[in-house]
């Protein structure tokens, strides 16, 4: 932390925090010299466009039903305008589900189709996704598989901190990830990075309190882990959920949009469950694809520029016609900024 600096930068790394902050207008309530920066917390935004392209191609295969969360429907791959919504209009079977278990239900009702569930999310969503794989195996639902695109928060944060431009004064830690992994899982932030960290809930009051706790730490020169979300987050996390994750998933190197490969940044399905791994089942390959021309999602995701700092923001890239996922994902920084902020 630069003690001469009069501007304090707090980073959150959770798409739902991004949205909650924007919705409550928290930035307007913070003092002028405090900046809230959105980091790579939107799991859709950080999914590499080559993986999305593979999903889009898969969606056109006869007898394949793609099942995913509503968030995924309009995210563009590497070609502007190309998304699951568009493919649906061209005949692809795309179903919006609210839970991976719903996708198993679809598979059971349509035994002659292949149902591929898009497993997007961080550790909050990982246990449910893992349980779906287990349930499919137990119930013998052979026409169901999961495309595991799950990500892990800790490696990403470590990767960010290694960057020479890294200049953050404190972290708001994702409350629901911490429900699963435990508040202590963020202990490395004060211990190894020397920075204050507060595990935060999602109500406006939670966020205000968490920012206040972070700023107190900064003011007092402390670097500690604090838990603001004690009503849901324990120190050790949800052991049942962690056990299920451990059974089905293993950490693996993973490409993050705009950040390159993050060592152990994602999850993949363990060999014992490979039968339900859509990547293996369909022999999917992820081709190296460049970012769409001018797209700065990679920089936005890392918190290096604000949405308004991207030359395409609001002019060429809008929610109606997005260039990159930060604008269309319901949790993307650009979507939040476009939807909730404006220039005075």
């Amino acid at each position: 932390m630069n003690s001469e600096s009069s501007v304090y930068k707090l980073m959150e790394v959770c798409g739902t925090h991004t949205m909650a902050i924007a919705r409550a207008g928290i930035r307007q309530l913070l003092p002028q010299n405090v900046r809230l920066i959105s980091g790579p917390g939107c799991p859709v935004c950080v999914t590499d466009q080559s993986e999305l392209d593979a999903v889009l191609d898969l969606s056109m295969e006869k007898d394949v039903i793609i099942a995913g969360y509503g968030d995924m429907l309009r995210v563009p791959g590497s070609t502007r305008g190309d998304s699951l919504a568009r493919r649906k209009s061209l005949g692809a079977r795309v179903e919006i589900v609210f839970s991976p278990v719903d996708a198993i239900g679809i598979a059971q009702r349509e035994p002659d189709k292949q149902v591929v569930f898009l497993g997007i999310g961080f550790e909050t969503t990982a246990p449910g996704t893992a349980m779906a794989v287990k349930l499919a195996k137990e119930r013998g639902v052979e026409n169901f598989s999961v495309l595991c695109l799950l990500k892990r928060v800790e490696p990403v944060l470590r990767g960010l901190a290694k960057d020479p431009d890294f200049d953050i004064d404190g972290f708001l830690c994702p409350g629901h990830v911490a429900v699963i992994t435990g508040a202590d899982s963020f202990g490395f932030i004060p211990r190894e990075l020397g920075l204050p960290a507060v595990v935060s809930g999602f109500e406006p009051e939670d966020l205000i309190r968490s920012c206040s706790m972070l700023l107190s730490q900064i003011r007092e020169g402390r670097a500690e882990l604090e838990n603001q979300y004690k009503r849901a987050v324990t120190s050790e996390g949800n052991l049942l959920a962690l056990k299920t994750m451990e059974e089905v998933l293993e950490p693996s190197d993973c490409r993050f949009r705009g950040m390159g490969t993050v060592p152990l940044g994602g999850f993949s399905i363990k060999p014992e469950y490979r039968k339900f791994d859509a990547k293996a089942r369909f022999g999917l390959e992820y081709k190296d694809v460049p970012e769409p021309a001018g797209c700065r999602c990679g920089l936005v995701i890392q918190g290096k520029i604000e949405p308004a700092g991207c030359p395409l923001f609001g002019r060429v890239c809008t929610p109606a016609d997005p260039v990159g996922p930060c604008m269309v994902s319901s949790e993307g920084s650009c979507a939040a900024a476009y939807k909730y902020s404006w220039e005075e």
């Binding site: 999310g121 449910g128 003011r219």
Partner: protein, 77 residues
């Protein structure tokens, strides 16, 4: 990816349950809740209850939320 809502458990059948708020009910999986009980408040994300809410702490948080004016003042560095 963390939209999750606190709901009250009103039905339990093995690993499946029903949770509700204000008369709206939702089916939930209970695989990750140790010994779920009727009346527990759980946080539900993507169809799974991911944790039981600590009632005492939740009430304390509601009280603390009333002091939000103080918190807003404390924000000034």
């Amino acid at each position: 990816m963390c939209l999750a809502v606190p709901l009250k458990l009103i039905e339990i059948e093995g690993n499946d349950g029903v949770a509700e708020r204000d008369g709206i009910t939702r089916s939930v999986r209970l695989d990750f809740i140790k010994e779920p009980r009727l009346g527990d408040y759980v946080i539900v994300h993507a169809g799974f209850a991911i944790e039981r809410l600590n009632e005492a702490q939740a009430l304390a948080d509601i009280e603390a939320a009333k002091e939000i004016e103080d918190e807003l003042r404390k924000l000034c560095v």
